[in-house]
C-alpha cells in the first residue's frame, strides 16, 4: 500500500465523487441525446479547458498550504502580453515565449514574497491579482486585439490529435505529469510535507523556500500558458480576459477533496471533481439551465457532497447507540 495513497480518504471522498459523477452522467445521457456525442464531449472540456489546466497547479499550491489568487490575472496578463507584442509586429512565436516569461516573472514575484519574506500568500497574491490585471489593462487598454495568425487560432480551436485540440492534449499530459510528480516523486513528497508542517519540513532539511518558489513559478508559467490558449480559443484578447476565474478554479480544487489548510488531497479526487463540474455544467447547458441557477446548483452540490456523508455518519452513530442502549 503506497504511503501517500490513503485508502481512508479514498473511501470517503473520491468514491463519493465517483458516485455523484456517475449519477450526473447517467442523468445527462437520459436527458439529452447530444451529451455522448464526441463533439459535445470535446466541447465539455474545451469550454473550461484553461481553468482546469490551472486547477492542476493550484492543487499543488493548496496542498502545499498556500494559495494563488493571482492566477486569473496572470492568465489575462499572459494573453495581453502576447496580443500587445503581436500587435506591435513581433512574431507570434516570440510573443508567446515572452508571454510565458512574463508568467514566470509573476510567479517569481509571488514566490519571493511568500517563500522568502514569509508574507501570507493570500495577501501577496491578492495584491498580485490587482496588479497583474492592472498591467494587462495598461497593455490593452480599451481595445480588443484579434486577427492573430491562422495557425494560432487553429491551435486553440481545431482538433490536433484525433478529435482533441491542443489544449486538451496539454491538459491530459499535464494531468499525468502532475499526478506522477505529486504522488510518486520526491518533489511531491516535499509538497505534502511542507503543507502539513512547514517547520517540521525545514527541520528535516527540506528546501522549503525553493519548493514554494518552484510552485509559484510553475503556477505563473502554466497560468500564462492557459491564458494564451484562451486567447487562441477565442481569437481575441481584452484586458478583462479570464477575470474572476480564480474562484472557479479554487472551487474545483476544494471539491476534489483538497484541504484548504494544506497537506491533504489527491489528483484523483481533483480529476473527478473536474469531470463532475464539467459534466454538470454541460448537462445543465443542454437543458437550458444557465446563469445563477447553474451556479446555485453547483453551490448546492459543493455543500451537499460533504454534508451528506457527514450526516449519514452521524445517523449511523445515532442508530448504533440506540441499538446498544436497547440491548
Amino acid at each position: 500500500m503506497p504511503p501517500s495513497f490513503k485508502w481512508d480518504s479514498l473511501k470517503r471522498w473520491e468514491t463519493l465523487l465517483a458516485v455523484v459523477l456517475a449519477v450526473v452522467v447517467i442523468f445527462n445521457i437520459s436527458q439529452s441525446s447530444v451529451f455522448l456525442r464526441v463533439d459535445n464531449l470535446v466541447n465539455l472540456f474545451m469550454l473550461h479547458i484553461e481553468k482546469i489546466i490551472v486547477v492542476l497547479i493550484m492543487t499543488l499550491i493548496i496542498i502545499n498550504g498556500e494559495i494563488d489568487l493571482s492566477v486569473a490575472s496572470v492568465m489575462g496578463l499572459g494573453a495581453c502580453v502576447v496580443a500587445n507584442l503581436y500587435e506591435r509586429g513581433v512574431s507570434m512565436e516570440a510573443a508567446i515565449l515572452v508571454g510565458l516569461g512574463v508568467g514566470a516573472l509573476c510567479g517569481i514575484i509571488n514566490g519571493f514574497w511568500v517563500a522568502y519574506v514569509r508574507l501570507p500568500s493570500l495577501a501577496v497574491t491578492l495584491a498580485g491579482l490587482i496588479a497583474y490585471h492592472g498591467i494587462a489593462e495598461m497593455l490593452v487598454e480599451d481595445r480588443s486585439i484579434g486577427n492573430f495568425p491562422d495557425w494560432f487560432n487553429q491551435l486553440g480551436q481545431k482538433a490536433l490529435i484525433g478529435p482533441l485540440p491542443l489544449s486538451l492534449v496539454i491538459f491530459f499530459i499535464l494531468f499525468i505529469i502532475f499526478a506522477a510528480v505529486l504522488h510518486f516523486s520526491a518533489f511531491g513528497r516535499y509538497v505534502f510535507v511542507i503543507g502539513n508542517n512547514r517547520e517540521a519540513a525545514r527541520y528535516s532539511g527540506v528546501r522549503v523556500r525553493q519548493v514554494k518558489m518552484m510552485l509559484y513559478i510553475m503556477s505563473g508559467v502554466i497560468a500564462s500558458l492557459a491564458g494564451i490558449l484562451f486567447a487562441a480559443r477565442l481569437g481575441a484578447v481584452r484586458a478583462s480576459t479570464a477575470e474572476g476565474f480564480e474562484l472557479d478554479i479554487i472551487t474545483v480544487v476544494l471539491l476534489g477533496g483538497v484541504s484548504i489548510f494544506g497537506g491533504k488531497g489527491t489528483l484523483a479526487g481533483v480529476g473527478l471533481s473536474i469531470m463532475l463540474v464539467l459534466c454538470l455544467r454541460n448537462g445543465m447547458n443542454l437543458l437550458s439551465i444557465t446563469g445563477n441557477t447553474q451556479s446555485t446548483v453547483i453551490g448546492v452540490l459543493l455543500i451537499f457532497s460533504v454534508l451528506i456523508p457527514n450526516l449519514t455518519q452521524d445517523f449511523q452513530g445515532f442508530w448504533n447507540r440506540r441499538r446498544m442502549i436497547a440491548k
Partner: protein, 340 residues
C-alpha cells in the same frame, strides 16, 4: 423593394441571450421578444438564457457553444458582452446552420453575425449626448467628463468615440471633454469615480454617463454630497431608476430607447432570417409588426457588418420622466404602486 411580411405559424427554435441575467433592461427585451413570439404564433420555443454578471463573457461563449451543438436550436439572438472573443463560438453556430442576430451590442469585427439590430444609430448617440450637454449647461457650454462602463464594453466605446467626433463640430465648441473614466458597471466603483472626478476637476459642470448603472450612481453621489447645483449628471439611463434625480434636478435630462421594442424588432428580424423569408443583404426591407418597416444597410460604424437601426432615442426630462417610469402604472414598481 417591397417590405417582406412574416408568415406566422412557422417553427423556429430561438434563444435570446442577454449580456447577463437579472437586470431590468434585458428582462424588458425579453418581454418584447415574447410579444413578437406570440404575435407570430411560432410553434418553436423562445428560450431566455444568459450567464451571470461576474462570468458574462466566458458564460456567453459557453452558452453559444452549447447551443451550436444542440440540434433543436435554429437561431440565436445575442447582446454581445465578449467583444470579438465570441467570434469562434458564433462561427460554430453558423456552421450548424443557425441564424445569428446581435442586438444592443454587436460583434465589433462584424464577421460572425448575420445582422445587428442597433437600438439607435451609434453615430447619433454622440450627437444626442452632446445636445443634452448643451441643453443642460446652456449655450455657453462648459467642461464635462465621461463616466463609462468597463473599458472593453464595445457599444459604450463606440458611443464615446462618436461623442468625441461630434465635439469637433463648431456647434459644440463650447463643450470641453476633460476625462473619460470607467466605473465597470459596478455601483460602488461608479459612485467613487464620480466623486473623484468632482475632486479632480473643480470646474467640471457635468458628468456624462452612457451607462444606466453609472448614471444612477453618479446622480446619487452628487445628491449625497449636495453637489447637484454645481455638477449635473446626464447620459443614458432608465426612467424608473432616474425618476428622483430628474425631479430634484440632479439629472435634468437623459436619454434611452425602449428595450421592449428592441427585443420585439430583434425577434422579427431573426424570425424572418431563420425562416428564409429574407436574406441578410444590404437593401432588404421587412416589416417588423407594430414597429413598421426596416431596411438592412451596411453598418457605417464598423468595417464589416450589416445592421438595421431601430431608433429613436427618447430624451427624458422633468416633463415626461414620470410617465415613462411607470408605464401602465404597475410594470416597474409593483410595491410602490400597490401601497401608495
Amino acid at each position: 423593394d417591397e417590405a417582406v411580411v412574416a408568415t406566422p405559424g412557422e417553427t423556429v427554435n430561438m434563444i435570446l441571450l442577454p449580456k447577463f441575467l437579472g437586470i431590468a433592461v434585458f428582462d424588458q427585451a425579453h418581454q418584447g421578444a415574447e410579444e413578437a413570439h406570440a404575435e407570430l404564433q411560432n410553434a418553436g420555443t423562445l428560450e431566455f438564457l444568459g450567464p451571470t454578471q461576474e462570468n458574462s463573457a466566458a458564460g456567453q461563449v459557453e452558452i453559444v457553444t452549447t447551443a451550436a451543438s444542440r440540434d433543436d436550436v435554429d437561431a440565436i439572438m445575442i447582446s454581445n458582452n465578449a467583444g470579438d472573443q465570441l467570434g469562434p463560438a458564433l462561427e460554430a453556430a453558423k456552421a450548424a446552420d443557425q441564424t445569428v442576430v446581435t442586438w444592443d451590442s454587436p460583434i465589433p469585427s462584424g464577421d460572425s453575425e448575420d445582422l445587428f439590430v442597433a437600438q439607435v444609430d451609434f453615430d447619433q448617440t454622440g450627437k444626442v449626448m452632446a445636445d443634452m450637454a448643451l441643453s443642460i449647461l446652456g449655450e455657453d457650454g462648459g467642461k464635462f467628463a465621461v463616466l463609462s462602463a468597463s473599458p472593453d464594453a464595445a457599444n459604450q466605446n463606440a458611443w464615446i468615440a462618436s461623442l468625441q467626433e461630434t465635439l469637433e463640430d463648431e456647434a459644440y465648441a463650447s463643450l470641453e471633454l476633460l476625462d473619460i473614466v470607467y466605473g465597470d458597471d459596478v455601483t460602488e466603483t461608479s459612485y467613487d469615480q464620480a466623486l473623484a472626478l468632482v475632486d479632480k476637476y473643480p470646474d467640471m459642470e457635468l458628468i456624462m454617463a452612457p451607462t444606466t448603472v453609472g448614471i444612477a450612481a453618479a446622480a446619487k453621489a452628487m445628491q449625497d454630497e449636495g453637489l447637484c447645483e454645481t455638477v449635473k449628471v446626464s447620459g443614458l439611463g432608465l426612467p424608473a431608476e432616474m425618476l428622483d434625480f430628474t425631479l430634484n434636478g440632479c439629472a435634468p435630462e437623459f436619454a434611452l430607447w425602449s428595450f421592449v421594442d428592441l427585443g420585439y424588432v430583434t425577434y422579427y428580424a431573426t424570425y424572418l432570417l431563420a425562416t428564409g423569408a429574407i436574406e441578410a443583404e444590404e437593401g432588404v426591407s421587412f416589416e417588423a409588426g407594430r414597429m413598421g418597416v426596416y431596411t438592412i444597410e451596411k453598418d457605417p460604424t464598423r468595417e464589416v457588418g450589416l445592421r438595421i437601426v431601430m431608433g429613436p432615442f427618447s430624451v427624458y426630462n422633468i416633463d415626461n420622466v414620470e410617465a415613462a417610469a411607470n408605464p401602465g402604472g404597475a410594470e416597474m414598481t409593483p410595491e410602490a404602486t400597490e401601497e401608495g
